[in-house]
């Protein structure tokens, strides 16, 4: 299923496709890019896209975006995810960048935006805290004004790839007396500042993706405040809207389904009764993807006509993550007894893994994908959003 494309858009699609084929770095094609690549390797594709002017599809032209229509942005997203390219760091390009060009001042724009585009600065997100997960408005990290600085104290958690980060954008409480949402500010903090400590959190798949970030008497120049003090909640919500737009994950699910089909073909003989069951389960999840893709295309077509999609992002997040969890479970089941094995992290080349290559990441993907229905606003929260905003309940 494809969008009906104009000849120009079709030519654009072909150009993107050819560009990926020619330019995507071979060394980024590893078993599990999310965990197996070094920071430098992750940045290879970022730099290539930057040189091409394609690094920030969402951004307006004046800040370095390519000036694409909604349709072209969608085409680009579709082609890159279908090809399995590793997306550029979302925290930099998709999240903090738009906050800075929308709510930041000129000095902030000039300082930060070019370095986000070039990949020179790696950003991480200081939102969640031990006591503030779904209920983000209760963040307790304190920022107290002291002359032309803020003194920041607090504990951020689930901070993805903070171990690589140069900067962290934080929700901090500047007005402890105000109502939860109205006392929050949006502050940019240099990770090299004295008092910033990063501690790894190892997850159930054995990988190190997320971290605790401790902030102890960190002195942050007041010029790093985005917008107005205590208006941070508005910026935070704006950012979360961007986070959830691309969570349907059609390209990724489609790729994993085609790999799953190959695994089933190789692992389960046709005369095994399990074969038919897998065929049926795969068909079911393929139909789930088809229905979600059709919904996504319908929403994109509406947006191209200027219609506000409302909380469609919540629908994409719920179904996209449930579908992908289902696919990783089926893949884990398909490799049978080899599903007992799991790679050790950090990955080393001489560590033994049994069974065929295609099964080597099945266990860790299966385990890791449990996070999908939790992070970025749990699926329970997303359902609440739809109940309230769409159904009026």
């Amino acid at each position: 299923m494809e969008l009906a494309l104009s000849p120009d858009d079709a030519a654009f699609r072909d150009e993107v496709r050819a560009f990926i084929k020619d330019k995507y770095p071979e060394e980024m094609r590893v078993a599990n890019p999310e965990t197996d690549l070094s920071k430098e390797q992750m940045l290879l594709w970022h730099r290539i896209l930057h040189n091409k002017g394609w690094i920030a599809p969402l951004w307006p032209k004046q800040y370095g975006g390519p000036g694409w229509s909604i349709t072209r942005r969608f085409i680009f997203e579709q082609e890159t995810t279908r090809a399995g390219t590793m997306p550029p760091l979302a925290f930099s390009v998709t999240m903090v960048g738009p906050v800075i060009y929308t709510f930041g001042n000129d000095a902030q724009k000039q300082k930060f935006l070019p370095r986000i585009l070039s990949g020179e600065d790696w950003w991480c997100q200081g939102y969640s805290e031990p006591g503030s997960g779904s209920d983000l408005a209760t963040v307790r990290t304190k920022a107290v004004r002291d002359g032309d600085h803020y003194i920041v104290n607090g504990h951020k958690t689930w901070t993805t790839l903070a171990q690589h980060a140069d900067w962290i954008f934080c929700l901090v409480r500047t007005d402890p007396t105000a109502k939860p949402q109205s006392g929050i500010s949006f502050l940019l903090i240099d990770m090299k500042s004295p008092g910033v400590t990063v501690r790894p959190i190892i997850t159930i798949d054995g990988s190190h993706e997320v971290n605790d970030v401790f902030l102890e008497d960190v002195r942050v120049p007041a010029e790093n405040l985005i917008g107005e003090e205590s208006k941070g909640w508005t910026y935070a919500k704006f950012l979360l809207g961007n986070e959830r737009t691309s969570m349907a994950g059609i390209g990724r699910s489609t790729r994993y389904i085609s790999r799953l089909k190959k695994i089933v073909k190789a692992e389960i003989p046709e005369d095994d009764p399990a074969h038919l069951e897998f065929i049926r389960d795969i068909a079911r999840v393929e139909l789930d993807v088809l229905a979600l893709e059709a919904t996504e295309l319908r929403v994109v077509a509406q947006m191209a006509r200027g219609i506000d999609p409302g909380p469609a992002a919540s629908l994409f997040k719920i179904r996209g993550t449930e579908i992908f969890q289902n696919i990783t479970e089926l893949t884990h089941r398909a490799i049978g007894n080899y599903g007992l094995a799991i790679r050790e992290h950090p990955i080393s080349a001489n560590h033994f893994m049994p069974g065929p290559d295609y099964g080597h990441t099945a266990s860790e993907k299966y385990l890791n994908s449990r996070k999908l229905s939790i992070y970025g606003g749990s699926n329970e929260i997303q359902r609440n959003i739809i109940a309230k905003a769409v159904l009026g309940l």
Binding site: I201, N337, A341, L367
Partner: protein, 376 residues
């Protein structure tokens, strides 16, 4: 139907509970898993000391005669503490096979050492193309003088890196999928021409790929009757794994309920949200059903009832799906914390996932349950 434990059974349960509480908390387990061997030799010795390794064996072979009910009691507690040591592999599976089909000499030679805790065992039945079918065997055994010589590959053999002995299924006649023609052999794990490549499993245990290139083996049971013996042994293994899963489910439910009463978001405990209340009610129901089914299966195993094989498959499937549901939801309701290596919830999740592969996944067993009905 609700099992009323005898005084002896109550004593067994409380003594296992005490031992694990003293020696097997989550930190102790973490140290065992991270150690070079990945197994607690001291804990195993303590299990032997307490008589756990003797519990299910009949008195005739030196055991305590506790049968499947004592296995159920022990494994439920082991499931609550995520015990990694190979009780199922050594006592229930290998010990069970030797007791069931071994010669008197073999029983004398092997069972006493199992009970004493001095020897560990593993069962090597899975092969590359076998998936969960006990009869799909390509490893061959050729008669050689008064023994046999085995050649072939076994995959994902749980606990093999720890084992002193392996029980290996090998073909003495027939073709790849034939039920007849498969025999069982005792093989010294350190025998010449046996190559073993270990790897870590998702649940913090150890398994291995095993290559046999002319390895000497000693026949266990009658030639050609290996599948029949394995089927009976699998029923008992399933009984043990189901009890372990039920123990894990109980702990996950308790932890989730506790968390939901203390974790606050939006100014209230998350347990006050109806959607989570209903989820936890379903988890509670799953625990009740699996507990009942576990008892039902254990009694049927004890009495060696005619339909026990079908019931074992049914329980493996039902408890497997229920365990998966509870584990998924326990992680979900713990939020990010449920994803961490630090908290025990994720480790129960992984053990349940592993149980759902060992001796056949829930989808395999629900089909077998249906097929055994059609065949009856």
């Amino acid at each position: 139907m609700d099992i009323q434990f005898t005084e002896e059974q109550e004593l067994l349960r409380s003594s296992v509970q005490r031992l694990l509480r003293d020696q097997y908390d989550f930190d102790a387990r973490r140290k065992i898993v991270a150690s070079e061997d990945g197994i607690g030799r001291e804990q195993w010795a303590a299990f032997a000391e307490l008589g756990l390794l003797a519990a299910p064996f009949s008195e005739a072979v030196g055991g305590l005669g506790g049968g499947p009910l004592s296995t159920m009691i022990i494994m439920q507690e082991f499931g609550r503490h995520l015990v990694v040591e190979p009780f199922v592999e050594t006592v229930v599976v290998a010990g069970g096979l030797v007791e069931q089909v071994g010669s008197d000499a073999q029983k004398r030679a092997f069972i006493a050492d199992i009970i004493a805790g001095s020897k560990l065992w593993a069962l090597a039945w899975t092969e590359k193309g076998s998936r969960f079918d006990l009869a799909t065997v390509t490893t061959t055994a050729r008669r050689d003088g008064d023994g046999y010589v085995l050649t072939g590959e076994k995959t994902a053999v749980m606990a093999a890196p720890w084992a002193d002995y392996l029980i290996v299924s090998a073909r003495t006649s027939g073709h790849r999928h034939d039920r007849g023609g498969v025999s069982l052999f005792v093989v010294d794990r350190r025998a010449a021409n046996l190559d073993l490549q270990s790897f870590g499993t998702i649940d913090g245990r150890r398994a291995a790929e095993i290559s046999l290139r002319g390895v000497r083996g000693e026949l266990l049971g009658k030639e050609g009757e290996g599948v029949k013996a394995l089927e009976a042994c699998r029923n008992h293994a399933i009984g043990a794994l189901c009890a372990e899963a039920v123990g894990a489910i109980g702990e996950l439910n308790a932890a989730t309920l506790d968390y939901s009463k203390t974790r606050k978001q939006f100014g209230v405990t998350i347990g006050s949200f109806q959607v989570l209340q209903h989820r936890m009610v379903d988890m509670f129901i799953a625990h009740q059903e699996t507990l009942s089914l576990m008892q039902h299966l254990s009694l049927s195993l004890r009495d060696d009832e005619a339909g026990v094989s079908r019931l074992a498959s049914g329980a493996k499937s039902k408890i497997g799906y229920a365990g998966k549901f509870v584990a998924d939801q326990a992680v979900q309701l713990h939020g990010g914390m449920g994803m961490t290596d630090e908290l025990n919830v994720g480790h129960y999740f992984k053990r349940i996932s592993s149980i759902n592969i060992q001796f056949g996944d829930p989808a395999y067993h629900v089909l077998r349950y249906a097929q055994l009905d059609a065949a009856a």
